[in-house]
Amino acid sequence: MYKRLTIKQLAISVATAVIVLLALALRPTSAFGVELIANSAVPVDQISIRELRAIYTMKRKRWHDSMPIAVFVLKASNSTHAGFCKEILRLFPHQLQTGWDRLVYSGRGAAPTEVANEEEMLNLIATTPGAIGYVSELKQGQGVKKLVIDK
């Protein structure tokens, strides 16, 4: 009912066409300002990228004094989230999302708590002991402190 093509020929020609088109569509991404914040009761002021990654991939569950870590994120479509992933964690947003989905749907663990916007992020971090999150810019905030990243 359809013309019989050699499937290998078809595969090669389609792959070539797609790669060429997509290579043309590549474009650089712009930078965002992101600040890492935590509840003021969190017992650290500095954090390494390695520790931060362990926290955001849900592998570390407690601060040094055994206070549970509460991890907050903005929605995947939020540009501050993309900036946080790429510039602070040095991971791609899809990498984090895939990892969280694997944890949740294989029954191994939980994903971070997603918040609707930066205002909610600030409120929740101020009121949740052990909370960590990020905003595009930290103005004077009650109960929230900025975390410095160890380079």
Binding site: I7, K61, K75, G107
Partner: protein
């Protein structure tokens, strides 16, 4: 068996409760450590020939939908419970009834900064390849369907679900992570699937036996590069009913033609051993993902002959009862049956499956999938060409193209927002190796070359 019925009952109640919350339409955090989320998907599938997930041949099948909800709770620091209940409708293979997809507890007895070692026990999904554990969750798949060569739905219910225990560990170094598991389990059995894939008709009952699995994954930089090796050893006993007919083709090389022979009490049972190894690799950049997986499956069917039955000798036309390993058998049989003495009743199958997959993310909201996926039922007999000669005692023999499949897939996905996903894909397929007999009861009548277009809408909450 009783326990699983009880679990099904419990999960149904839990699911009914969860559905009451669904109108809230977002992930509900019921308490600090109690989590609930889920997904709904609906697909439309059209094929030029052969049915896939419903009556799609020259028609549109809407018989592919998934509704699932996962509830998890961390009770103590090192203990995490999780259950996923799933209603999956997929053509004539899955009827949409509520099932416990997983119900398990994770307990970590070592949890340091760099090392985690623990157990997970309960109803688990087989931990092989990159996608099996989350195979029914639309947002975790690169397309509407995952590569059917390796993740075939033909034996889905029996080969991917199991009750058992896994010892597992994760060791984190600077950018490298090594994780592993060792598993002991009993696979669940879906009787219909064994009847479908068995080369010999007449299976009355299939029982799962002690089975094992192991896996090792190396991960560099939180998933930028991953390499995995997975091993599985599954065992089943197949018990045959008293009367076996030779449908379809009779016995090649003998005077027996289709449907003209019935043998009673020939077989007692088969021991089916299925060993599989899967090698998986993945490389991710911001915009591109490259995935390749290879699977070899060795199936060994050890047949326990019932050599005492007088029905056997009557069927073969011998004057005296005989043992099939009797050296004098050839001389005691009529000439046209002489070659029956060389019948090889033990069957070995060596399946090969592999695919290459590229995903391009053209932005946060859409992606493109390109995949070439190959499956050979028996690697030594590529394209099914020599199957008829070598399977001397293969009672059910289909056209050559029923023993392989090559699938070229092009697809695209669009995230309307992070919670809504629409996918569209086109498959050009040579062979019907992984289509199910439930959807295609007349496998003899299948078409070698076929096209499939499909679209799917998924929502997560």
């Amino acid at each position: 068996m009783k326990i699983s019925i009880l679990l099904d009952g419990v999960s149904r109640s839990v699911f009914a409760l969860l559905l009451l919350w669904q109108p809230l339409a977002y992930s509900v955090e019921l308490a600090e450590e109690l989590r609930f989320s889920g997904f709904v998907s609906q697909a439309a599938i059209h094929t030029s020939d052969n049915n896939y997930f419903g009556n799609s041949d020259d028609d549109v099948s809407l018989d592919y939908r998934e509704v699932g909800a996962v509830l998890s709770v961390s009770v103590w620091e090192n203990t995490h419970f999780s259950t996923l209940v799933l209603s999956r409708k997929a053509g004539h293979n899955s009827d949409g009834s509520l099932k416990v997809d997983h119900l398990l507890v994770n307990y970590n007895f070592l949890n340091s900064y760099d090392h985690t070692v623990g157990v997970r026990a309960g109803r688990l999904k087989s931990s092989y390849g990159w996608y099996n554990e989350t195979r029914d969750v639309p947002f975790t798949r690169p397309g509407i369907f995952i590569a059917q060569s390796i993740y075939t739905d033909r034996v889905r219910n029996s080969y991917y679900f199991q009750d058992g225990i896994h010892l597992r560990g994760e060791h984190r170094f600077n950018l490298d992570t090594l994780s592993w598991h060792l598993g002991y389990h009993r696979p669940n059995v879906d009787e219909d699937e064994f009847v479908d894939v068995s080369p010999i008709p007449g299976i009355d009952e299939t029982k799962s036996k002690d089975s094992w699995s192991a896996g090792l994954i190396y991960d560099y930089d939180a998933g930028k590069f991953r390499l995995g090796l997975f091993l599985e050893d599954k065992n089943f006993d197949e018990i045959f009913n008293d009367r076996i007919k030779f449908p379809q083709i009779g016995i090649p090389g003998t005077p027996f033609k289709a449907n003209d022979l019935t043998i009673e009490n020939l077989f007692r049972n088969f021991k089916l051993n299925n060993q599989r190894f899967v090698l998986s690799a993945e490389y991710n950049t911001e915009r591109w993902s490259f995935v390749a997986e290879l699977s070899r499956t060795f199936v060994d069917v050890d047949i326990d002959m019932n050599q005492d039955s007088s029905d056997v000798f009557l069927a073969f036309g011998s004057a005296e009862p005989f043992a099939l390993d009797d050296p004098d058998l050839a001389t005691s049989l009529p000439a046209e049956f002489a070659n029956l003495t060389s019948l090889n009743f033990d069957q070995k199958v060596d399946s090969l499956a592999y695919y290459f997959q590229t995903i391009y993310r053209a932005g946060a909201s859409w992606d493109i999938l390109l995949r070439y996926d190959v499956f050979h039922f028996d690697e030594d007999k590529k394209n099914g060409k020599k199957l008829a000669e070598d399977f001397k005692f293969n009672f059910v023999l289909y056209p050559n193209h029923a023993y392989y499949a090559k699938d070229l897939t092009i697809g695209t996905g669009w995230y309307i927002n992070p919670d809504w996903l629409v996918r569209f894909e086109w498959h050009y397929i040579d062979g019907t190796g992984w289509v199910t007999s439930a959807d295609n009861p007349d496998r003899d009548d299948s078409s070698r070359y076929w096209n499939m277009i499909a679209t799917q809408v998924s929502y997560r909450f």
